[in-house]
Amino acid sequence: MAEKLASLWPEITLFIATCIVMVVGLSPSAAVRRTCGLISGVALAAAGILAIGTADQAKGLMPGLLPYAKAVIAFVGVLLTMLLTGVVDRFEEEAIEKGSAGFDPLRSTRGEFFAFFLFSMTGLMLCASADSLIWLFLALELTSLPTYVMVAMSSPRQKAKEAAVKYFFLGALGAAVFLYGFALLYGGTGSVHLAEIQTAIAAQAAEGSINPIALTGLVIALLGIAFKIAAVPMHFYAADVYQGAASPVAAMLAFVPKTAGFITIILLCAAVGWNHGPMGDQLPEIVRVTLWVMAALTMIVGNVLAWLQSSVKRMLAYSSVAHSGYMLVGVIAGPGDAFTSSGVAAVLFYLLAYGIMNTGAFAVVSALETRQAARTDTGELVHDEADDINAFRGLCRHNPVLGWSMVLCALSLLGFPLTLGFFGKLPLFTAGIDAGEIPLVVVLGINSAIAAFYYLRLVALPLFEHPGDEAEAYVESPNHGRRVVGVVAAGGVLVLTVLASPLMDAAFDASADAPLPVAESEPPGEQTASLD
């Protein structure tokens, strides 16, 4: 037990911080109340450090995954914390400051908001630590449930409620699906422990065929988890929810459930192993086909829908769908004996890259708001966010910092060379080709090009246009944390290219515990079948 706890110090830290935040949020002193965000950030940072510090304590199916995943989660979590500050309590605090209202602990939601956030992050970290299906299920639910609430409370606008409804009900549907898959997986292998599942499946495979119930369960579980990563066919909610929620929460939604989903998928696939198929170098055919179809459709659907959007948040939502598709290519490719050939490592690295650049893009979106606060139909004051793409016209002119942050993040999302996005995508290419998934890599390439069409608008409008009336209606939010996040992210997509190598090594180490395919480098001639 104690051994197990040793690797859970980050989660424990976060949990304690959650409790503290809940209490602090109720403090009558504004100064104390304001420390909620700070405490969350510090806790996340501490969790990240602890995760690295307790790396050698890590247990589970892929112990190497723990420190990397948790550190990434903590880092992006810190950025998200800065974004989330001020989402729910801005007008409340302003009113208190002006004296027009008193502090009413019963109406204040600040503490809960951060607590939910930290809960979610805790769940996310727990995902990485999971060693059984039960744990995985609980961690996934712990990740998701708070986000439902956060969406609902993120904005007084009606659409936030709508987003919450859709998110919650469809989320429950998704959860039921993957739970059912877990049940079947348990049925097919006789265990809920990932390690034991791995042994069981290996034994079954050695005997000739894997239990069909296990495989069916795995496929259904993957389809259920597709909800978390917003992959086809479970992507429908994404755009509506991202648009409805406040941008900081949308940024969180684009990172947190997605990371949880990918960690779960990687763990499940690792349990099954990439050593099946005729060549002994891929997932069981049925799983591979599932992921293949999901990946291809996800990339295509995400990109073509993103193209049509004039709402930046919807565009980023659909692009987040597409990015899940890219990462699925890495999952299909599976681990390798080098970073370049390890799809799992590529996915893990991409998660980091995506977390940074996407958070940066959302940070810019959330940093812009209407000059005049408007009243909602329930009477609350709100500064609406810049959602329409025309709000970003000429941003580089009247707000160069935000403008250039947007340009850089968009270029990175587009996978433009010399940005982190490119270095994230390149390993997906190499791993995909290494795994012989050339058609999928071609689809990936074409989709990167399609993505250019809409990301380029995010580059061109801020950079080249003159701000029109529409853009003049927007000003920078007084919450400068968002600007900082934008700058940090934009800097990150440039600076981390220099540091890419250690990060990639870390990602590779994190993937190293995944079961390697039997025959890694087969003679090249035989691989040509897929080319011809």
Binding site: V165, L170, F236, D240, I286, V304, L305, W307
Partner: protein
Amino acid sequence: MLTDVMNSLPMLTLAAADGAKGSGPLIESWAAAPGWVLLIPLLPLLAAVLNVGCAIAGVKTKLPAVITIVSLAAAFVLTALAYLSFSGETRIVTGWSWFDLSWGDGPGQSMKADFGFYIDNLSLLWMLFVTGLATLIATYASEYMEHDVGQGYNRFFFAFALFVFSMSCLVLGDNLLMLYLGWEGVGLCSYLLIGYFYKKPEAVAAAKKAFIVNRIGDLGLAIGVFLTFVHFGTLEYAELFSSEQLAGYIDAVKAGNAGDVPLMAQLIPVFLMIGAFGKSAQFPLYVWLPDAMEGPTPVSALIHAATMVTAGVYLIARFYPVFLVSEWALPVVAWIGAFTAFLAATIGMAQFDIKRIMAYSTVSQLGYMFAGLALLSSTGGVFHVLTHAFFKALLFLCCGAVMHGFAGQLDLRKLSGLWSQPGWRVVSVGMLIGCINLAGVPFTAGYFSKDMILAEAFVTQGPGYGLIGWLLLLTAGMTAYYTFRVFFRVFVGPVRYEPGDDDHGSSDHDHEHDQSDAHGHDGHAHTDHAQHPFHPHPPRLAINGVLATLSVLAVLAAGLYFVTPENKGWVGSMLKDSTAAQVYFDGESDHPTRAGLFLIDGDAHHRDHAHADDHADHGEHAAHGSFLGFDPHKVMYYVSAIVGAIGIGFAAWAHGPRGAVSGFLGDRTEAATSRMDAVARSFGPIPKWAEHKWYVDEFYHFLFRAPLWVLSHIFHAIDKLLVDGLVNLIGYVPRAFGRLAQPGQSGVLHGYALSMAGGVAVILLVVMMVAG
């Protein structure tokens, strides 16, 4: 003495190598030429550069003319020195290495072309008259162009000097790429000079046309160059003409096995020929030359009459051996030449612009030259080049003087009686000398040179060569007619004139008038100076001097025919050591038509039709043609003289003064004009068609330019709509997919739930089917 000194000058580079010994390479060996020979092309280049300097410095004097004349004269002197010191052995001088790329050590595995010059009799012959005439015409132009001093003067002499440089490269170049350089270089200068009066749309159009039509020929030449390289593995004359391969082909042709020569080798002359037709304005590429008369007259004289247009003749003369390896190359040249000669003469007869008449005459005479070369009389062809250069330059310069004096008037209906005008005597005499040469009046240079070709046309056997002879003979008569038509209309008769539009260069090309209109014009012509402020200004010293000199030279050129008669004149003696050496029939051959060609080394089997007593032999040959049963060589002197006389007589009858004997003093009568009208009417619409140049330009426009123009528009539309449209369509495909997928995003919770559940089910089914 001087040559020795020059020879001792340091040489820039020497390219000396021994030719391979074979059974009969055309060149046994070649030696290095002294470096100063390089100055022949470089001096005009220097002049061109200096003229650019003048333009930059804004020189407002005649300095550019002085520079050009001096440098050209120096080049001429050097050429003369080179000729005098020439030993008969081919010499090469290399300036610098131009192309040099190798991809192996074997033969043909390197592309080498030097900026080098090839000195033999052929190139020296050409350079002598090119530099000589250029010097004279530059002198003429210094006065002719004086109205443009400070404006276009620099530009004119820049292009002029550059032309001589390019022409030198063309003629002297020691490889095919140098030839090509000169070839296009003269094209550029021609372009610049035709378009000299660039504010005139006609001049611009003519310049463009000249360049583009020439480009068509250039493509042929380029392909000929490629074929030569591929087939012989070299671009350099020295290697080419000493190659055993070529010698082998010629041996094979000699042996009657012409069919053994690879087709690729046989195609070389065909493509070279296309180049020659373009530059030398032969059918079907002749259309640019008449239009080129939009340029200043000295340019017409030098470039479009005397020198540049003979480049095609030079090309064929230079590649004569290569032309011999194909059975049908020379007959094609002969037919094209003869046909062009005839066609151009018909058009020339119907024109009213005296410069145009001279232009068509040039085209026609060039046809003679080609026919001459092709009829195995390279001496005749080249001799005609030489004589024609002098008398045609003279004719043009006289026309130019008229144009200069009468404010651009060139219409022969509006000028008359220059002979009687004060100050125009030199011009008139020059014109007369030019005319008698062109018409082939006995004992003039033109008479001898044309005669050689005519005779050979009846002697040489080939496909339809007899007809060629008759065609050329007929053309000779027509030539005499149109030549003297100009002379009689413009220079004799009553003094009448009507000034041209305004200044030089804007001549009135009013071809739309028919003859009756022209008649009316004559009636309105000003006969009294007082009624009109216009006064013609006769030429001054420079122009008159040049005209006089050229007249003398044109007359003296006849004398060349009698220099070394055993070689058929000086030209023959020059050619016999060159690649254009005379080719003969082998009498003993069993092949009656065109078999049995062989090349002789010079003096062995030459045939000399200048000496009638040799001709006895020829009568025995089955291969030897005849002219109505007579030996062509004997009777042609008389026949051509008679034909010429008929032409002149007809011109006198139709256009001449009453009582021609009374010394050109008579008055042109209404009767003569009406006689001409009656004759013209009797031909129906033909004169009209001829005046419109047989509608060849319109035909080309209809056949090539218009379809291409339409095609361009179609391509442009295709590019916009189809090619770019396809791209845009591809860009639209993702959007279309998006539109397809968008209804799924209906925003309704149940719809999402259904889609998700359905999606899961479909994927499960698909997976089960694919993988299960």
